[in-house]
Amino acid sequence: MNLYSLSKTSAMRQLLLAALVLLVSCTSTTIDEFRQGETGISSTETVVILGRRQASDYETRAEFVSCVGERMGRGENALQIVPEQEFVDAMFPWFEPRTAPLRTRDLERLMAENVVAEKMLDFGVRYIVWLDGFTERTDRSGSISCTVGPGGAGCFGFGSWEDDAKFDARIWDIASMSSVGTISTDATGQSYLPALIIPIPLIARVEANACSRLADQLKNFVNGS
């Protein structure tokens, strides 16, 4: 093998790697913000992020809720976030799927209960963010077959699918007992699974992207910037 063919192979490898990276990062995210009121938060106030679990055929994953909370609680203009499970357990039985307030006027009724109002004050909650949504997998195509023989094992084929993560965040201001805005996020991405002896998953991080974009937007929204 001469120097020319060696550099050609290396260039091919780099091209393949670049193509793989491009494929992996093939996710698009759209954010829509609808503001209904002024926002702002002091350093002693907290935000609680809760998942909606009233729908019959899906429920907002606790992992997504904690991802958004974790991201809002770090970096520049970080907010104090009350973990979902800690809040729901402390407020038990008022924030269970069947009893949680669906509208702000339900929240007013709830805050009339002295035990709820006291606990809310203990946590220093200024905003409740309701997350509602799920990630759907569609357009599955391709096939991969794997075989095991005396000489070894291997897979061959190609599979692909599309993930679509749609989440809404409704922000309630506890001070004014009103809804101050809604942020919607829609992230889509195509994942690929080529298999040539070993399967190489090229996964689009759709839900992770939806989480980070939504968290950044929420942080700015709550801070009033």
Partner: protein, 203 residues
Amino acid sequence: MKNTGLNRSLLLLLLLFGLSSCGVSNVVIDGSFPTPNINKMPIAIAVYYDDALKDFAYLEYSETGQEEFNIESGKSHVQLFNVVLPAMFDRVVFVDSMEEVPTLGVDAVFAPAIEEFQLALPMKTKLDVFEVWIKYNMRLLTPTGDYIADWVLTSYGKTPTETFRSVEGAINDAAVVALRDLASSFALSFNQVPEVRDWLNNR
């Protein structure tokens, strides 16, 4: 000789695999339940759990009629009521038999019973959730055993399917959500049951 040993090991392995894939899976519901954050009612009650509740288990059959899951939830029901009831009432006494009650000086006896348990698995419903539905018969009696109120309560819990979670784990999680649902609706609706409300007003 060496070959016979290898064959025996293989046969044993196959037998073990066969046994493990055919048997019924036992799921003992295990969860932790928070203390309700509610105002206590000024009532003293005795609580009686019968054996049917304490040992409650539900058998789920596969589509071919094979026993698939044995779900034991009696202990977790007792655990749940033991947390919820002392948060609801001023004084709670747990009794082993109804005969003990008249000497305790309580206002009423609470005796819950499970009437029905249903499980919905994603492989059967084609939905991406595991669901548990439980129907209860709640009974409130006078210390002498007469009925004050007798009402039906249902609870529901679901949990989404996840790649690295076992079926047993998902059933447990859905049942724990259903138990929390029972606790929340029982605690918040107790004094709205018409017979209970009349009894409370006439005391």
